[in-house]
Subunit: 444 residues, 2 copies
């Protein structure tokens, strides 16, 4: 009898896991279940459709129905998994017609993702208040944006700033309100966040930090928000104050939840319950730096975990390691990236760290088009092991973050980075790479 693999979720993690399972077991019956109408699309692309960079939300579908057919994956959309019974090894589902069914599995993969957490702000139920998670969310915001002259985004994390940037590009007067004292508070320290803050304000975005939204104003439909006594006009409000792992289903099935409130998994991505795997935004990771549980909730982490879960669910043997949480984005032309711990997070984790920053150019001084770049490195004081990096600047931030991530994954020290070989040509870099220079500066 063919192995029956059920995957709950059908986006980055779900489809990747199902595909890996298929490659590992050609005869398995693989079923993906999602409560959404659309499957296999990139959530990360939504802000860039809003900005108009990508022509339509349909463009975000990375895995069209033909893919599921080709890979012989049974896809059930608009179907809710209502319960998991690990002892009977069945999932209970209900489709959009209300028809209930029990689907048996040999291996189950939970790729239930996360949901936008909306803090209890007064007025949050008003018309014109949105979150950003699904294509439908994106379409709703897009429609509202067509009429909107002003907008407020609550939360200056990655999604908040990406959405706010798209609003600025669409010509809406946009204000971002962040409760914490800086933008990208989990990704950057104060000194680096200040650069992003200033550049975005220069580009036309208003940013208010260290303040919460006291109330969302308007009768039925939103007209603005109240922040520290000030009324800020807004035809639409997006709440982007972070996501929470979707663990209800797992919890009710008796699957262990970790201290980060996400699903605990071992290195094979198996949960506390036999034959139940999990991957993506719903699972807890282990930090490469602190060896403690953390949340990663990034697309790259999701797909890498999903491959491991898929292989193991299909009877193979694969392992997932520890994470750095390397992330990057591009905001109104400004690239921002980070990997490992911020200085603040490192100190909070009890590490004794030193840090250094350096401002340089992305190309030879004499080569036109060179853009400013600022690099920050955080390292352990005694071992000089690099534990974090942040980069804000014009070009090739993504691959610089990857370079430092590779370095950290191999335990590179500041001394090694200070002596590291890099490549150079006038149109693409400086003779002395800023990542190397900051390490040299820190050692002096």
């Amino acid at each position: 009898m063919p192995r029956r693999i059920v995957v709950v979720g059908a986006h980055a993690a779900g489809v990747e896991a199902a595909s890996a399972a298929r490659r590992a077991d050609r005869t398995a019956e693989i079923t993906l279940i999602t409560d959404e109408r659309h499957a296999g699309y990139s959530r990360c692309g939504i802000p860039f459709v809003l900005a108009g960079h990508i022509p339509s939300f349909r463009g975000l579908v990375v895995y069209p129905l033909a893919y599921f057919k080709m890979m012989k994956l049974n896809l059930r959309t608009e179907t809710v998994v209502t319960a998991i019974d690990p002892s009977a090894k069945v999932v209970e589902v209900r489709d959009k017609e209300g028809i209930e069914e029990k689907i048996p599995y040999d291996s189950l993969i939970l790729a239930t993702g996360a949901f936008p957490f909306v803090p209890p702000i007064r007025g949050r139920e008003k018309e014109g208040v949105y979150v950003v998670r699904t294509i439908e969310d994106g379409e709703r915001i897009d429609r509202a944006l067509k009429e909107a002259k002003s907008a407020v985004v609550v939360g200056a994390g990655l999604i908040g700033l990406e959405v706010a940037s798209s609003f600025v590009e669409r010509g809406a007067k946009t204000t971002v309100v962040e409760l914490l004292p800086r933008v990208l508070p989990l990704m950057l320290d104060d000194d680096m966040a200040r650069v992003v803050h200033e550049e975005l304000e220069k580009a036309g975005m208003r940013i208010i930090v260290s303040r919460g939204v006291d109330e969302i104003l308007g009768a039925e439909k939103v007209t603005g928000v109240s922040v520290a006594g000030e009324e800020i006009k807004a035809d639409l409000v997006v709440v982007a104050t972070g996501v929470r792992a979707n663990v209800e289903l797992a919890k009710r099935a008796g699957i262990a939840i970790g201290e980060t409130r996400a699903i605990k998994v071992d290195a094979r991505m198996e949960t506390s319950v036999n034959d139940v795997y999990a991957a993506g935004d719903c699972v807890e990771c282990i930090s490469l730096i602190t060896k403690r549980p953390i949340l990663s909730q990034l697309g790259t982490t999701a797909v890498r975990q999903a491959r491991v879960a898929g292989v193991n669910a299909a009877g193979g043997q694969a392992f997932f390691g520890e994470v750095l949480g390397a992330s990057v984005t591009k905001l109104l032309g400004l690239e921002v990236g980070a990997t490992g711990l911020t200085e603040e997070a490192a100190k909070r984790a009890g590490l004794d760290v030193i840090s250094g920053t350096l401002s340089s150019k992305t190309r030879s001084e004499y080569y036109p088009g060179a853009l400013p770049i600022k690099v920050k490195i955080v390292a352990e004081r005694d071992t000089l092991r690099i534990v974090g990096a942040q980069i804000v600047g014009g070009e090739e931030v993504t691959q610089r973050i990857n370079a430092l991530s590779f370095a950290m994954q191999k335990g590179m020290t500041l001394k090694e980075l200070a002596a590291a070989e890099t490549c150079y040509a006038p149109p693409v870099s400086e003779t002395w790479e800023p990542m190397v220079l900051v390490a040299q500066k820190m050692l002096r």
Copy 2:
């Protein structure tokens, strides 16, 4: 009495060494001697002035005279070092007026660079035949280019292709003739070189490989070249068939020369003669991969060696490591980079290697502007240690090469690369980084 430090050469390596010496010893008397009229300029920038990207050759001067003044470095231009007497610890010089002088030193740094090697092609002495090394070379070519309708570049190495690209951009009908069977023969394997070859031909350059120039034609002034029976018209010819380390001075002073015909140095960049250091294109390096002597002759290697030489010449203690020879360039919009050994070079060095290539995109499929990128990795068959990488493609090649260089400097294996964490956002990268995908592909 202050320490007397003499530096022969005043470009990348010379100035960097002198500056490092100055920082290490505030009171030293530091003298730089160059036979050129201009000091402290970037040779690497010359092709990009020719292309018109940089407005003038003067723009290449990275260290103006004010810098030498500020750093209290005595600069002697148009002065030839005629001999070194290591027993008396003096260098003998002759300035442009023909006045000879003996300059005593406590420490001597040789940054004598390299010279363009011109093979004995018939007609190479004709008017209109140039090499590319100095600003004067650049100015001569620039003048000739103003009148030229067609040009031939002999040699398809980095400099040859950069110069040929500049000619194409300036509107000259340009042909490159390479004796070896591919372009960038030291940097790329055949499969990767083919991509560069095709892209450059698409962009309007003609490239002939596996053929030498039999004769440079014309009465006094060049009119063309003869290649395998074909006459190719050319109003100017540039010979870019590589450089040779400038070791005459060192050789005559009894300083040991290595098997690569460059100056042998230890990890402190000291030559076989006490208190004589060397750095840059004139020295021999040790390969990080094979642990055997190699030539690097890159700007990044030069400045890193020079800092070490400068510190040690000033009584400090610094060490230079082994090299990968990481290089990059941008040719008519096409980025090309490499680090470590090519597959061919690895096999020639006796390594048992495997290789893999992968073609991907630089951004999410759905994000406009994604460019094709091709990555090749070479690894040792038994240990799976990565020993080389080549990348040809549209964006962020430089920092990808740096990422792989960091990985190789820390001994990363294919397995580790296949599981490596990278960062992602739709405008700047793909969810699965091609460097990681090629490693996964090689392990299957």
